[in-house]
């Protein structure tokens, strides 16, 4: 197995080549953020609130400051004096985004809210000093649930919100009233999903290195979005007055010129999407809170006036699943402290902190009404969605963005005449809601559940009712009722038909009947979805006008003087194997081996800009496309130069195994180094191309059907999964082993979501799951073997790759919960919760009393 040196003629794309990343990682030579230890670094520990909701009367850090091993203690008030607040980003119509500081000085809003920062010579000593800090809190009534948040009597988490509602937005498509009035039946159910947590095995962390000569910051950070962290740190970590910023900007011509160049480039790339933005978002914000008018100019002019932005360096990252996308409050606090002290600082989050505020997700209530005719035809869908975002909105992409992706994706692969969604985001005294692998996934869960409920009510099989209402190839081109265009890449129906061939339903029903006679309860559940990966060009703007600015990924391919091939990506890998898949793409483009390609990522001094970094299943289609086309441009540059060198027509030049030659005459070929030398000696530019890619212009859907068989043990309430099948279609596959790994990893998190994982709070908003003894990550004993079947639907045009990172987690919860309801059919059970631990299973079977 030595595919990395396979000859290029075979084509690497499509092969399960082994991973380039493995050698350093398997030897223990990876470099994760905790492994970075600059000389003389100070170790940080944050003092965090023990109360869910309280005002701070006073804080006394005198004793902590006297501690001999402590270098500095910052109270929230001191640090907030040095910094700007987190601003609203991607303001949406109807949304109020509270502004907040890096630490909390007057009021704490969740257990774990940071109120002070200690820096000492070791983490042990920093944590010792935390115990010497006295804080006098006055407790407020906690807002512990969606019900609390919607109560008119609740204490307000954010003073300027409408009660605790931050977003209340309704959208209708089609004539909802008349469709619901004329439909034969309406099936309604309320579904509730518990709070879950992304839980990468590596927690968050940041090491901020200060250059003693220049004061330049180098931020080593486990981030999915290195450029966003760089810009936000520059914007927030050192507050400057507008006057001094403007003076700096006006007197520094280089700075002024480079800003104008950058602004022109940005507008050329994103102008169209920017024009789609309307003022409704900023208006919603300003109606609630005008302080943005004071803070934003200072923040933006501060960026203009800065000569030196930090460098962000992210190397190996131990997983993220969305949790490392946001810029953390701690990141800004640490940078501000490092700037103030002129000393390097290090913080590695511990697991208790991570379970408390490292990222929560999914806590949503959804009341769903499906209108349909007696012949099974879907007519309309109405959804009332309430999302619990916790206290502080994540930056830059808050929870409310998830509600709007849900709005667009809710109808799924089915035809509807009408659709209505009311989306509310509420604030509670809990840790922050972040994007978690398929952040909109509960639209699929609720839709696929209500379809099963309706199938039972009408006497259809779940698969027949789905097939009857799905878009098929004959319907294409079509559009979702919520806007986005559909083409043949939306092949969900084909994945369901294929799954029905893989799983013999009749045979299963026989087996189920036999088992029931023996007192064993088997169930079969299906779930179908499609996801935008990357989606058609109108996709982002249908979520939020102007969000298209998130859509571009960049790559730069260069051939260096010695002939080596270096590719720079704006993607930020954290387990997805970009170094392997991108090398496969580049090697095919340039006619070289995989080992000849070096990928550079994570260093903002060297990599092209991207707002998002890695997330949203964009690494394959968009990142992969940018890598492909920048390499293709470089190939042409090389061929043009080689044509001169070899005195041949460029059309006749071929490259194979790094040998650049006239077709048919490989013995007289030259190397990349040979060609590079001629170009450089002639004073030309080296081979170098940058490409920004937003997708190939249509389709871009990634689809799947999951089929799950469960066996429920009514003695213990335990659920086993004897068979799990995924039929997925992400178009042409770059590396099947890596795709299978993404699918299986997502399904594993879905198994955890349904059977094991809950970030449960008590009625006082105290988190009850702050260790891995309480928050149960499934082990090898709990995760079933997942069969993965691939369809590879092609669509016209090049670069047909579609993303696959999120789907496993989108399909698994509905497939498993549908299977469990099927298994408990004899008891008339109705699954309305996503979280089904053994006690809940036994309750649904009527074996134990819920009370």
């Amino acid at each position: 197995m030595n595919e990395r040196t396979q000859t290029s003629g075979l084509g690497f794309v499509g092969q399960s080549v082994t991973r380039v990343e493995d050698d350093r990682l398997l030897r223990g030579k990876g470099q994760y953020v905790a492994d970075i230890e600059p000389e003389g670094v100070l170790h940080a520990a944050f003092l965090r609130s023990p109360f869910a909701h309280a005002t701070i009367r006073s804080i006394d850090v005198t004793a902590a400051r006297r501690s001999p091993r402590v270098t500095a203690v910052f109270t929230a008030a001191e640090l907030n004096e040095l910094t700007n607040p987190f601003p609203p980003f991607l303001m949406m119509p109807g949304l109020y985004t509270p502004l907040y500081m890096c630490l909390s000085d007057k009021k704490v809003r969740h257990v774990g809210d940071p109120v002070a920062l200690v820096l000492a010579d070791s983490r042990y000593h920093a944590e010792d000093a935390l115990e010497l800090i006295e804080v006098d809190y006055e407790q407020l009534a906690p807002v512990a649930s969606i019900a609390d948040a919607l109560s008119v009597n609740a204490e307000q988490v954010w003073e300027r919100a409408d009660g605790n509602v931050l977003l209340d937005k309704s959208d209708a498509y089609g004539d909802v009233e008349s469709v619901f009035a004329s439909a034969d039946r309406i099936v309604t159910e309320r579904f509730s999903c518990q709070r879950q947590s992304n839980q990468p095995m590596e927690t968050r962390g940041s090491v901020i290195e200060v250059d003693p000569e220049t004061g330049h910051l180098t931020i080593h950070n486990a981030t999915q979005s290195s450029h966003m962290l760089r810009w936000l740190t520059a914007a927030l970590a050192k507050k400057e007055s507008v006057r001094s910023s403007l003076k700096n900007f006006a007197t520094n011509k280089d700075r002024r010129d480079s800003f104008i160049v950058a602004a022109k480039e940005f507008m050329a790339q994103n102008g169209e999407s920017m024009q789609n933005q309307d003022n409704a978002g900023p208006k919603s914000q300003l109606r609630k809170d005008r302080s943005m008018l004071r803070h934003l100019p200072r923040t933006l002019f501060g960026l203009l006036g800065k000569d030196d932005y930090p460098t962000v360096m992210a190397r190996d990252i131990g997983g993220g699943f969305g949790a490392k996308g946001p810029v953390a409050r701690e990141d800004i606090a640490l940078a501000a402290a490092a700037i103030d002290l002129g000393r390097s600082v290090k913080w590695i989050e511990d697991r208790v902190e991570n379970l408390s505020d490292g990222g929560h997700a999914r806590e949503e209530d959804l009341t769903v009404s499906l209108a349909l005719d007696n012949d099974g035809t879907f007519r309309g869908l109405k959804v009332d969605l309430v999302l619990d975002q916790g206290a502080y909105p994540a930056f830059p992409i808050g929870a409310s963005m998830a509600t709007q992706i849900m709005r667009v994706m809710f109808p799924g692969a089915y035809k509807f005449d009408a659709f209505h969604l009311r989306a509310r985001t509420v604030a509670t005294n809990k840790g922050k809601y972040v994007a978690y692998r398929g952040p909109w996934a509960n639209e699929t869960w609720a839709r696929e559940r209500i379809i099963d409920v309706a199938a039972k009510a009408l006497g259809y099989t779940p698969t027949d009712l789905r097939l009857k209402n799905m878009f098929s190839d004959q319907d294409m081109p079509a559009a979702m009722i919520t806007g986005p265009a559909l083409d043949e890449t939306m092949s969900t129906k084909k994945t369901l038909e294929h799954a029905m061939q893989v799983v013999d339903i009749d045979e299963f029903r026989d087996e189920q009947e036999t088992a029931r006679a023996e007192g064993r309860y088997l169930g079969l559940g299906f779930a179908c979805y499609h996801e935008a990966a990357p989606g058609p060009p109108d996709y982002f703007d249908s979520i939020s006008p102007g969000a298209g600015t998130l859509g571009t990924e960049y790559a730069r391919t260069t051939i260096e003087r010695d002939g080596s091939i270096v590719v720079y990506t704006s993607q930020m890998p954290h387990g997805q194997s970009h170094e392997t898949t991108y090398a496969q793409i580049v090697a095919d483009e340039l006619g070289v081996g995989i080992a000849d390609v070096k990928l550079v990522y994570g260093n903002t001094d060297r990599t092209p800009f991207s707002v998002m970094g890695t997330g949203g299943s964009r690494g394959g289609p968009l990142g992969g496309g940018s890598v492909k086309y920048s390499s293709r441009e470089v190939r042409q540059q090389v061929i043009d130069a080689a044509a001169e060198l070899l005195e041949a027509s460029a059309d006749d030049i071929d490259i194979m195994d790094g040998n650049i030659h006239v077709s048919g005459v490989p013995a007289r070929g030259v190397s990349f180094a040979d060609v590079a030398a001629t170009v450089i000696s002639e004073g030309d530019q080296p081979f170098d191309a940058t490409f920004g890619y937003t997708g190939k212009g249509d389709g871009g859907w990634s689809c799947a059907t999951h089929a799950c068989i469960v066996e429920v043990d009514l003695e213990t309430g335990r659920v086993d999964i004897p068979r799990y099948v995924v039929v997925e279609d992400c178009g042409p596959i770059i590396n099947p082993a890596i795709v299978n790994g993404q699918v299986r990893g997502g399904v594993a998190q879905g198994v955890g979501a349904v059977l094991y994982e809950s970030s449960v709070y008590d009625t006082e908003a105290n988190l009850q799951a702050t260790t891995y003894m309480d928050y149960l990550i499934p082990t090898a004993m709990e995760i079933p073997y997942v069969e993965v079947h691939h369809l590879e639907t092609l669509s016209p045009g090049e670069n047909d790759f579609r993303g696959v990172g999120e789907g496993g987690m989108i399909g698994a919860p509905p497939a498993i919960t549908n299977a469990i309801e099927d298994a408990l059919g004899p008891f008339g059970a109705r699954v309305t919760d996503q979280y089904l631990p053994p006690t809940k299973i036994l309750e649904m079977a009527g074996i134990i009393d819920p009370d």
């Binding site: 230890e37 042990y124 095995m201 890596i738 998190q749």
Partner: protein, 165 residues
């Protein structure tokens, strides 16, 4: 207060002087600079920090460094023989065992200990033995495959007289 003792890690002896409360994982990572041992939960559940103590897997986050005095410690850095990967490392590579690989040192050391005790475990036994290590990326399938690749490699090495696990 500090205590001084000798720590034997991967066949090399190092004099260590440390506060007695410091964990084996912190001393290995910070004092010895062997950062291949990872800390995932620091409360003994995730298994990322697993090292071998006289050949048996222990949680280095729950072990005090002083407790390792007089014992032989093996970390992930001690597995490969120069450029040549350990059969378990090579097997994990071939099987696409890991993704982010943060958990990998613990899994590989648990596997080395398992195969030393039972060179031919069943798939179920592998699952059971490795259930003390958490992975959030893979769904475990490829890790279990990797153990099976290692079993075959070690068996054929053993037949030809090689193998060191």
């Amino acid at each position: 207060m500090t205590v001084s003792f000798t720590l034997n890690v991967n066949g090399a002896a190092t004099e260590v002087s440390t506060e007695p409360r410091r964990t084996l994982s912190d001393v290995i990572r910070e004092d010895l600079g062997l950062t291949g041992t990872h800390l995932g939960c620091e409360h003994g559940v995730c298994g990322a920090c697993t090292v071998l103590l006289d050949g048996a897997p222990v949680r280095s986050c729950l072990t005090l460094a002083v407790q390792a005095d007089g014992h032989e410690i093996t970390t992930v850095e001690g597995l490969a023989n120069g450029d040549e990967l350990h059969p378990v490392q090579q097997a994990m590579h071939e099987a696409h065992g890991f993704q982010c690989a943060f958990c990998s040192p613990g899994f590989m050391l648990s596997t080395v200990a398992l195969l030393a005790e039972n060179p031919n475990p069943s798939r179920h036994e592998i699952r059971e033995e490795l259930s003390g290590n958490l992975c959030r990326c893979t769904g475990y399938h490829t890790i279990l495959d990797g153990v099976e690749v290692a079993i075959r490699a070690l068996a054929s090495d053993g037949a030809s007289g090689g193998g060191d696990a």
